[in-house]
């Protein structure tokens, strides 16, 4: 309603503005920085780079005789990088020998044992257990292989025999993760009931983390009135399948999906990334501060057409740092979205293109400490990102806070602020540091600056309690005075009135 009236006024003003129309064409081509952030209002805020491209490795630079062909998966253990060279049916192993170099160590093309065939067909993912066993998603051969560290066949995980899975569907395990007990979680193409869960002995143990199906009333009506032919043309009404998963160090699975629609994401009916507990519930924390409620963890807020790309961010992979911050890889626009453990955006960087730091079809993301490794399927390159000074400060401040060094953390956040004054996390981080140092006044100031109502309230509650405790005597006196003074005045007035009407005094006057 109110908007309607605003429009009326706007129309009225537009008459006047018509005359000044020619003045209003200001420069529209604003150069955006490589890295950016969304603030409380969802506005894009330029940011200094948190990550910079350390080096882009092509097949030649990696020392490969046979060039990489459509690599789709990767895995990092220590300083070893395992890349699934899907097109060449092999796993290539690289060692990070210095800060900016990977050298080719070995490749896995076959294994020993009773299982046939002994070679791979389009391996898409690899996972490595703590004991050094390899788990390989051998997509073309419809199996997940478990090999010991000497590449002897141990066991395989095959298509689950279950009523809920179509018997005719070809089993195509594409992404896998393993937990410490040796259970295997698998994303398979065409299976949308969640992650397939195998026990360590290879038995199928149901699905976990099925995506929510949203009941759509419009769809329901449509189905009632549509003809059979129309129904056949309609997209089948199914939950979305996951694209990738990552097992974090606590044993929770981060699963991401690119099969998302802009409207369901914005309505909060779909998630791009989830943290799945053993019961299959999503426990991802979304505590970010955003004018419209929780901060949306689905990548770009603006999904309009631009540069040939449209639609929401499509997360192809996710990786989780040791401090529970996580980075999602958007294969749609080639961007990386970093969020902290509370679901607040740390930074966004990257893009689609051919330059260093831009991608064409990035599919795999791994991390070595805080360095990020992106595997691009089309470019057949491995891009290594390392932290800049600014990035080191941001993560440093987070780590210091987690370690309980609040004063230090506050100091570091202040350093961050010198680099980037438009960084909401720095203000809130500084506020949290002050809050832990029991400097509630300052904490409140910083939270208020970035509209963090939850933390502000925490600080204010403490502040209020302190205030009341310090001034309890004064408060009691004021309250008593507020009650007693009107009471006293009333009494005096009453007495005066009684004196006035009293007969005893009437004649004495």
């Amino acid at each position: 309603m109110r908007k309607g009236f605003k429009r009326t006024v706007a129309l009225a003003l537009s008459v006047g503005m018509l005359l000044g129309m020619s003045l209003s064409s200001y420069a529209t081509t604003i150069d955006r920085s490589y890295t950016y952030n969304y603030d409380y209002w969802g506005d894009v805020q330029d940011s200094p780079d948190m990550y910079s491209v350390c080096k882009v490795f092509t097949s030649t630079e990696l020392g490969l005789e046979k060039r990489l062909n459509s690599p789709q998966g990767s895995c990092v253990v220590g300083n070893l990088l395992y890349v699934c060279d899907t097109g060449n049916n092999r796993i290539a192993i690289f060692e990070r020998t210095s800060r900016e170099s990977f050298t080719f160590v070995d490749e896995i093309t076959s294994f020993e044992g009773s299982e046939e065939p002994k070679t791979f067909s389009s391996p898409t993912d690899i996972a490595i257990s703590e004991e050094g066993d390899f788990y390989i998603a051998d997509k073309g051969n419809a199996r997940i292989l478990k090999l010991d560290k000497d590449l002897n066949f141990v066991q395989k995980f095959t298509k689950p025999i279950d009523n809920s899975i179509d018997k005719d569907i070809v089993f195509q395990p594409s992404k896998i993760a393993i937990d410490t007990a040796g259970r295997v979680y698998c994303v398979a193409i065409g299976i949308n009931k969640g992650l397939i869960k195998y026990e360590a002995d290879g038995t199928f143990n149901g699905f976990v983390g099925a995506t929510r199906v949203v009941f759509d009333f419009k769809m329901y009506i449509m189905k009632k009135i549509a003809t059979q032919e129309q129904l056949n043309k309609m997209e089948s009404f199914v939950p979305t399948e996951y694209d990738n998963l990552y097992m974090d160090k606590e044993g929770f699975i981060y699963a991401c999906t690119g099969n998302v629609e802009a409207d369901t994401l914005k309505a909060g009916d779909a998630d791009s990334v989830r943290r799945i507990n053993p019961l299959g519930d999503d426990i991802l924390i979304r505590n970010g501060v955003y004018w419209d409620g929780d901060f949306p963890v689905y990548g770009d807020l603006y999904m309009g057409n631009g540069g040939g790309y449209s639609g929401p961010s499509k997360f192809a992979d996710v990786t989780v740092f040791d401090n529970d911050a996580y980075v999602c890889l958007d294969r749609n626009r080639g961007r990386l979205f970093a969020y902290d453990d509370q679901g607040r955006m740390i930074c966004v960087f990257g893009g689609a293109g051919n330059m260093d730091g831009y991608f064409r079809n990035p599919l795999a993301l791994e991390h070595m400490d805080y360095d990020l490794i992106v595997v691009d399927q089309l470019d057949c390159t491995i891009t290594l990102f390392t932290l800049t000074d600014y990035g080191r400060l941001v993560f440093g401040a987070m780590d210091q806070f987690d370690n309980g060094e609040y004063a230090k953390s506050g100091k570091t956040w202040r350093e961050v602020m010198k680099y980037n004054g438009n960084y909401d996390l720095a203000y809130i981080g500084l506020g949290r540091a002050y809050l832990r140092q029991k400097d509630y006044d300052k904490a409140m100031d910083y939270f208020e600056l970035k509209y963090d109502a939850e933390n502000y309230s925490k600080a204010y509650k403490k502040h209020r309690k302190e205030f009341v405790e310090d001034h309890i005597v004064l408060i009691v006196i004021v309250i008593l005075a507020l009650f007693l003074i009107p009471l006293g005045i009333g009494r005096i007035k009453l007495i005066k009135y009684q004196i006035q009407i009293s007969d005893a005094f009437k004649y004495n006057n």
């Binding site: 309607g4 009236f5 006024v9 129309l11 109502a453």
Partner: protein, 218 residues
């Protein structure tokens, strides 16, 4: 003009009529009857209440705790913001008067204005203290704020509806009917205004382009 301001009698009448708005809060039927029929209200007092209400509406943006109201200052046009309440208010007064005049409503335009202004008394009366109070409560206690806020609105609507029935000497059903009809009257007026403004803007654009054309040719 200034002589009128100096007259003590005028001031007394003003304050008396202003004070009468408090009586209307708790005795709406009686109060609004007296307001118009016994001339207990005044234009000056009514306008004061309106100004106070608008002031509360604007000032609360700045002085309410950010927990309850977050303002994107970059996009805020204070005139638009004021117009967003003032315009509906004027439309309501005019629309209501125009409609009820046709269906033997007794209220004159001035009386409808005074009664409507007196009806919004609860808004500034609650909003100003609420604004102050909001700075002393946390997110957990936000229900207090929203409850008080809703009360201020409901109170306005309640005495507004009752007040209108007294001004026009309508029964309850007829009163509600014409209040609903007033909303439609407002929509019609908005439509006409938009039509008017778009036609004016097109007219202006026509002459501008005509002048431009002529300047190019000459």
């Amino acid at each position: 003009m200034f002589a009128a301001l100096k007259s003590k009698e005028n001031w007394q009448r003003y304050f008396k009529s202003l004070k009468f708005s408090l009586y209307c809060l708790t005795h709406p039927i009686d109060g609004f009857w007296d307001l118009t029929h016994e001339k207990r209200g005044s234009y000056s007092a009514a306008t004061t209440i309106l100004v106070l209400a608008i002031a509360a509406y604007v000032i609360r943006l700045r002085y309410t705790s950010f927990i309850f109201i977050q303002v994107y200052w970059e996009d805020l046009n204070i005139f638009m913001y004021i117009a967003s309440v003032l315009l509906p208010f004027i439309l309501f007064v005019v629309g209501n008067w125009a409609l009820t005049t046709l269906f033997d409503g007794k209220g004159r335009l001035g009386q409808v204005y005074i009664a409507t202004c007196y009806a919004i008394t609860p808004y500034p009366l609650i909003q100003f203290p609420l604004m102050f109070l909001s700075n002393f409560i946390t997110v957990d206690e936000s229900e207090f704020y929203s409850a008080m806020y809703v009360i201020s609105i409901i109170w306005v609507l309640f005495i507004g509806i009752l007040g209108m029935s007294q001004v026009h000497e309508y029964g309850f059903g007829k009163n509600i009917l014409f209040l609903v009809a007033t909303v439609f009257a407002m929509l019609v007026m908005i439509f006409l205004l938009m039509l008017f403004f778009s036609m004016v803007s097109q007219g202006v654009a026509y002459f501008i382009s005509l002048t431009k054309e002529m300047l190019y040719r000459l």
